[in-house]
């Protein structure tokens, strides 16, 4: 068994995990370690192997090769014990159409051997009004909230959420982020699989990028940003005409390119520090500024850099 630096058993350790479906290799020798107590974002394009990995972690699919340990237990030998300590929201969660939201939570409670205050859990995910309606009448977002509620039953040590934002409206997304933060504060580990970059950026401590069944990058968001370049972009709106300001900025040290878009100057700097020099140069000149905003490389660029080049 491997251990993290602080002596805790990692929540998830995948060692050379490979999964083949017939002739198709969905996951190819994946090495993955999810530190205990972290919010880990598994990021990747469609078909990258994220959901197969998640399914293998909770025993829904059997590894073709390699081993997976979850909460210190081997998934082949202790799948039920793992699921007892893990809250799972599977990709495309489907409730029983004929059962009510409350009955779903009672089922999850019985399965986990815990008494559930169904009203409290449903309120936490914003389903109080629909508690006694059958899930057949739920919208996609409501189903997703119900799945999240079932995953939260029993205060699991590990929360595995596969595409949790699917079907959620902006309020639902915000609720999801809040719950993830609350669960982390409680001490749980959260493993979040998604292709929604904003989701990962908002809540994850560590990001693993999976492409073609392999982990191609893993680090915190800031470090990953730096690995694809420190370029920063300024969007500047002068009060006067754009051309003089543009001419001025072309010669400023550290400016890679100046273009015009949507009545604004888009100034690409070689790194973030150089943006201060650009603003200072404008202030020294007679160009007055209406507004400016700075944009650092987002996960979009990181994601693109790691998944496009393969």
């Amino acid at each position: 068994m491997s251990y993290t630096a602080d002596g805790h058993t990692p929540a998830v350790v995948a060692d050379n995990f490979t999964k083949q479906f017939g002739t198709v290799t969905a996951v190819d020798g994946l090495e993955l370690t999810v530190p205990a107590g972290s919010v880990y974002g598994l990021l990747g394009p469609n078909g990258a192997g994220k959901s197969t990995t998640i399914d293998a972690l909770v025993g829904l699919v059997q590894p073709t090769e390699g081993t997976i340990r979850v909460l210190g237990m081997d998934v082949r030998a202790s799948a039920v014990d793992i699921r007892r300590k893990t809250g799972i929201l599977p990709d495309g969660f489907t409730p029983y159409e004929q059962l009510t939201g409350r009955e779903h939570l009672e089922l999850a409670g019985r399965a986990n051997g815990v008494d559930v205050h169904t009203g409290d859990v449903l309120a936490r995910v914003g389903l109080t009004d629909a508690a006694d309606r059958t899930a057949g009448g739920y919208s996609r977002g409501m189903c997703q909230r119900l799945g999240l509620a079932m995953a939260l039953v029993g205060q699991p040590d590990l929360l595995v959420l596969d595409e949790p934002g699917a079907g959620l409206d902006p309020h639902g997304i915000e609720l999801l982020r809040r719950i993830v933060r609350e669960e982390r504060a409680r001490g749980a580990t959260v493993l979040l699989s998604t292709h929604q970059l904003a989701q990962v950026e908002a809540v994850c401590d560590v990001v693993g990028i999976v492409d073609e069944g392999q982990l191609v990058a893993e680090d915190d968001v800031e470090t990953l940003r730096r690995t694809v370049g420190a370029e920063a972009t300024l969007r500047i709106r002068p009060t006067g005409p754009l051309e003089p300001a543009g001419d001025l900025l072309t010669d400023v040290d550290g400016v890679a390119e100046v273009t015009v878009a949507d009545d604004a100057l888009v100034v690409r700097c070689v790194d973030e520090q150089r943006t201060a020099g650009v603003i200072a140069a404008l202030e020294r000149s007679d160009v007055a500024l209406e507004s400016y905003e700075k944009a650092l490389p987002g996960l979009e660029q990181v994601f693109g850099a790691y998944t496009d080049e393969r």
Binding site: L60, V80, P90, T94, Y96
Partner: protein, 287 residues
């Protein structure tokens, strides 16, 4: 030894599935249709048949009855194509949906993400369907008993109970066969096709076995059902058993005995269930 940890999940799964069936229009409609059909046939059969106190079938092509008695009515019911074969086919077609339907609609993954073992989920799903079949048999029997009573035919409680148990086992064998088929493919259409082939195959199995090697005929579900029924009364015999009897009329071969019939009926439930468990435990439940 299996304990609470084994049975509680199994009963949880069976309970939630049974609740789902109970609230499903499709399931309730199908069950009502099958039950009404069987009961109508039963009532109709009784109304056109006379079973006086000295009634005797003597030889109806399946059974031979030495002494008279009104209980022979149940043998008449059992030989009907609408009871044994229909319930067997119904059981198979009900069974083929056990895994493939929840797999196709996604609820199997939902259930399997809870801390239940694969075995508990599989047996729980099967159990819920066996309860449905038991419900159909119970309703059919109730209708038969009421009709018999109105016609003045009196049935022995012991024989009636045996008839219900063996008929339920017979149909349960069909459900178990259907359930193991349900684990073999993920596409519902393919699995239902397997089910139709299996239903037809099991119906002709007895004839094929008997024509090629008579003693092996008891391994066919329908023959085993008749042999088991014959054991309910000391003066009843299945013609299949008579064909295997010695010159003194004794049922010598163990495979022609009542015990063999009952064992075969149980085997048709247990063996497919075990095969289904193995197949389900080894399979993937990915999307």
């Amino acid at each position: 030894m299996p304990g609470r940890d084994t049975y509680t999940p199994l009963l949880d799964v069976a309970r939630v599935e049974f609740r789902r069936h109970r609230r499903s229009r499709g399931t309730v409609g199908t069950l009502i249709a099958v039950t009404l059909f069987c009961t109508f046939w039963s009532v109709h059969n009784l109304s056109i048949s006379a079973y006086p106190p000295d009634a005797s079938l003597v030889n109806d092509g399946v059974f031979s009855v030495v002494a008279p008695g009104q209980d022979v009515f149940l043998l008449d019911v059992a030989t009907s194509v609408f009871v044994g074969p229909l319930l067997l086919c119904f059981g198979i077609l009900l069974g083929v949906g056990t895994v493939v339907t929840p797999r196709a609609n996604g609820t199997l993954r939902t259930l399997q993400t809870l801390p239940y073992s694969r075995r508990s989920v599989f047996v729980g799903l099967l159990l819920s369907r066996l309860l449905l079949v038991a419900g159909v048999v119970a309703t059919l029997t109730l209708g038969t008993v009421v009709s018999a009573s109105l016609a003045g035919v009196s049935l022995s409680l012991r024989v009636l109970f045996g008839f219900v148990v063996f008929l339920t086992l017979h149909a349960a064998g069909g459900v178990a066969v259907g359930t193991v088929l349900s684990t073999l493919r993920t596409r519902p259409a393919a699995v239902y096709l397997f089910g139709v082939v299996a239903a037809v195959g099991l119906l002709v199995l007895g004839g094929l076995l008997s024509s090629q090697f008579l003693p092996a005929g008891v391994f066919a579900p329908r023959t085993a059902f008749h042999v088991a029924l014959a054991g309910l009364h000391w003066n009843w015999t299945a013609l299949f058993q008579q064909a295997l009897a010695n010159s003194a009329g004794g049922i010598q071969p163990s495979y022609g005995s009542t015990a063999a019939g009952v064992l075969v009926l149980c085997a048709w439930v247990l063996i497919p269930t075990l095969l289904g468990v193995v197949s389900y435990e080894r399979g993937d439940l990915g999307q």
